[in-house]
């Protein structure tokens, strides 16, 4: 069982690194969708109270929203805004990958005291990887110019929080779980609309150019 969990965690790690290295936005969206599927499988395999109907249905709903609906929304926003790649991020792609390695080391060190409280049958790297996912999401939000990539960074951040919960086997109440899902959905929905509006108003979605706006 631990091997399955290990390989899922490796997949999650690799998807984070790919997000740091990739410039094509469609590829990034696909990776985030893949990440959502991996998250769902992690949550199903490490469910503490066994596979009850509630757990399965919440996980499937999360997978459907994050893996299908949100990527569809973002792809629609891309078509509207007509951007294909992140051209010049504030931090270059090679540097991003190296910073990612640094973030991974930091999260391994930080997660050390937490690991003793983790359940025995999940991978020992699950908690560090969840922290790494959160940090990767933050890093993407901070360093990318395009508003779409920033929305993706927010999604990655949320994925990290989700996997952190399932790695500590925290059984969140059904309503809280659904509430978080609704929050994420609404947030990305609003972001999609805002991206579309920014684009219609200014003909681009480079957020750094918006800081000089005056009325």
């Amino acid at each position: 069982m631990e091997v399955v969990s290990d390989i899922l965690v490796v997949l999650l790690l690799l998807s984070n690194l790919y997000l740091l290295a990739a410039s094509r936005i469609t590829a990034c969206i696909q990776t985030v969708a893949l990440q959502a599927v991996v998250l769902g499988v992690i949550a199903l395999t490490s469910a503490a109270g066994g596979l009850t109907l509630v757990v399965v249905s919440v996980t499937l709903a999360t997978m459907a929203v994050k893996g299908l609906v949100l990527p569809w929304l973002l792809r629609r926003a891309i078509r509207g805004a007509d951007v294909a790649r992140e051209v010049e991020p504030f931090v270059g792609f090679t540097t991003s990958v190296l910073v990612g390695a640094g973030l991974l080391v930091i999260s391994v060190v930080v997660a050390e005291p937490l690991c003793s409280s983790a359940p025995a049958d999940v991978s020992a790297m699950m908690i560090p990887t969840s922290l790494f996912t959160i940090l990767t999401g933050l890093f993407i939000v901070v360093t990318r110019r395009k508003a779409l990539n920033q929305a993706l960074g927010y999604l990655v951040l949320e994925n990290g929080v989700y996997v952190f919960g399932s790695s500590l086997a925290i059984e969140e109440p059904f309503l809280v779980e659904l509430g978080i899902l609704l929050d994420v959905f609404v947030a990305v929905f609003v972001m999609g609309i805002i991206i579309f509006q920014i684009n219609r108003e200014f003909d681009h979605i480079d957020t750094d150019k918006l800081s000089v706006l005056k009325d």
């Binding site: 631990e2 390989i7 690799l14 690194l17 090679t94 990958v97 190296l98 390695a101 080391v105 391994v108």
Partner: protein, 304 residues
Amino acid sequence: MTALASILHVVLAITLSPLLLGVINRTKAKFAGRTGQPLLQAYYDLGKLLQKGAVYSSTATWVFRAGPVVGLAATLIALAFLPLSGAPGLGAFPGDLILLVYALGLLRFMTVLAALDTGSAFEGMGASREVQFSMLAEPVLLLSLAALAICTGKAGLSDIFASLPTLDSLQWVPTALLASVALFVVLLSENARIPVDDPNTHLELTMIHEVMVLDHGGVDFGLIQYGAALKLWIFSALFVGAAMPWRIGQPVMDLLVGVGGVFLSAVFVGVVESVMARLRLIRVPQMLASAAVLALIAVIWAVR
């Protein structure tokens, strides 16, 4: 029995390594729908080159003549410490992985020196590229071998690959997977295969390895080509050691499985070359940096 397997491995590597190039070319030809050159083409080329004489420029010194010979000798030394599933290296001792990496480093150093010795600006450019990329590839190689060493708790290359499948907990599976991917990237980069360098092109702008050996001819060039084939064998064997750590238990049978794995990795290289375009030069460091991060993750995994 294991000693017999070790000797057999060295003999097989020395005789069969040019065949790897034939297998790669055949795979690429199959993908392109061509018949392709004969499988033994590399042997014919070597035979032709060894019958020729060599021409030396009057400005070149002994360094230029020593380059191919010392390079081939360094490759043979590296081969003597190389294990292939079931067969430990001939001269295996704890810590030999550093020696293997630096024997390959000596090969590169001599090739670069010989290229610089010709005084051609063009070859200097190739040497600079070669050094730049190998500077990035060498840490990846060392890190991924270090990950396997930490995982098994052994310091010798042969011990590492021998004890990998005998470990109890399956913790080594992700480490071996990540390390084998990193080793494969190093294989592609160090052997001038496609995402980094195109071995068939003679277009000046894209060449890395080819450009350094432009002034060598005849026997010298034959030695360089043969050394390159052996180097491909060495990296394939390292990749197979991490990617296929299964044993039957009988050293000679294991060795034959390992040789099959080496040829399988040659087919794999051919597939990669067929489905990928060469990366732009400025993208190559990014690929190697990603491989370095993979190797680093493998190390972190092994430490835990």
